[in-house]
Symmetry: D2
Subunit: 133 residues, 4 copies
Amino acid sequence: MSRPLYSHSFTLRLGDTDAAGVIYFARLLEHAHEAYEAFLAAAGRPLQDWTGRGIQIPVVHAEADFLSPMTLGQAIRVELRPGALGRSSFRLDYRFRDTAGEPLARASTVHVAMRAAAAVELPPDLRELLDTG
Amino acid sequence: MSRPLYSHSFTLRLGDTDAAGVIYFARLLEHAHEAYEAFLAAAGRPLQDWTGRGIQIPVVHAEADFLSPMTLGQAIRVELRPGALGRSSFRLDYRFRDTAGEPLARASTVHVAMRAAAAVELPPDLRELLDTG
Amino acid sequence: MSRPLYSHSFTLRLGDTDAAGVIYFARLLEHAHEAYEAFLAAAGRPLQDWTGRGIQIPVVHAEADFLSPMTLGQAIRVELRPGALGRSSFRLDYRFRDTAGEPLARASTVHVAMRAAAAVELPPDLRELLDTG
Amino acid sequence: MSRPLYSHSFTLRLGDTDAAGVIYFARLLEHAHEAYEAFLAAAGRPLQDWTGRGIQIPVVHAEADFLSPMTLGQAIRVELRPGALGRSSFRLDYRFRDTAGEPLARASTVHVAMRAAAAVELPPDLRELLDTG
């Protein structure tokens, strides 16, 4: 597998868990999005900057697969890799691993750049961040 | 105690719970705010309408007391009562009860009406909704 | 399309939204899971009952597609339909619509019944609820 | 004011915000609890360890005051200080500041140590962590 574009670490907190004693599934996607936000900020293009330029980049598709239980207090690393890069859209793939590198979960998000309510071309600097081909 | 201004019911869902098997504490305040939103909508003045008039009504204070554990699948009723009503601010008090009427929790929120970033007088129709004195 | 197994309604609340002014994407999956919990409860088999029988039914896959923006205060109906039904697993498909019936989003969740940490056969009464074929 | 017992930093993420463009109020308390969890982990007594010893430490009171808007992407520091320390209970006070040290919000949580459903004495090592008097 290719080298990650970005790696992000977090600890699973009580608010991430549910009464089954493991991560509440939808919170995994929230942590995926936080890794994407951390990547943009680290690259000097934080999410809030796009909004200031009148561009929204909503998630139009999200998915997640759960491979191993994630529990309270667990240290987790997310690896972010770019997927298909279109004219107005891009896909990000996330791998969640424990501290030994064992896979815990996978996720993907697809985003579309929009101005007002119309799809627009990806801003060149955002495209450059993601284009590793 | 005075009659509630509004009563709202909900069921505690998996996403509301944490690994201790009960409600994650911050979610109680989210349910309090949802009761307030349901009250405004039932009164014909939904929260989104204020925004359309350039008015934000942020929460400036919130508090909660937990009296009895709330668990997955529990049916809960929230009673909403207005508290102190100021020129630009108002307080709402919430009582959470089980189906037998036993108290589960209490919460309060204080809101300030603002235009841009300045406190403004409460809109008359919002004041009227809350002024039960 | 087949008749839904269950229909569930909710209103989009402030806590569901984000600074882009629409639903925060991961909250859609939380509302999907709430529709599943409401279905189980309405069928007399609430989620908490399985736990009492030593059975966990975690989500092992989740996905969502966003078709139209969902905004604060919007009334939304979720239609729940069963998908592939395996020996230990089942899939649920969700369609989110506005009050005019227009599609807003789609989602799916795949669940696996487990006892302790091993996959087990679906409880017969849960299978019966879902087997509409 | 006394030196903080612990300082924790985080960045405000999209999932923390709401359609008003600022932090959704209940999320502040979630970040307060995360600071408490980070403090326990840094002290070598992570929250999950108490559960393993049959002890729950639920929040029985929480409150927050909002002093200045917190927005998407903002870097925030939480200072945690112990408050009143009882036989079975303790209070934690949180101060949220921006990178210039300006106050953004205050919060407090009160926790009670319980075994099964009865209040118990605070575990000595937890008391020691909090007793700075």
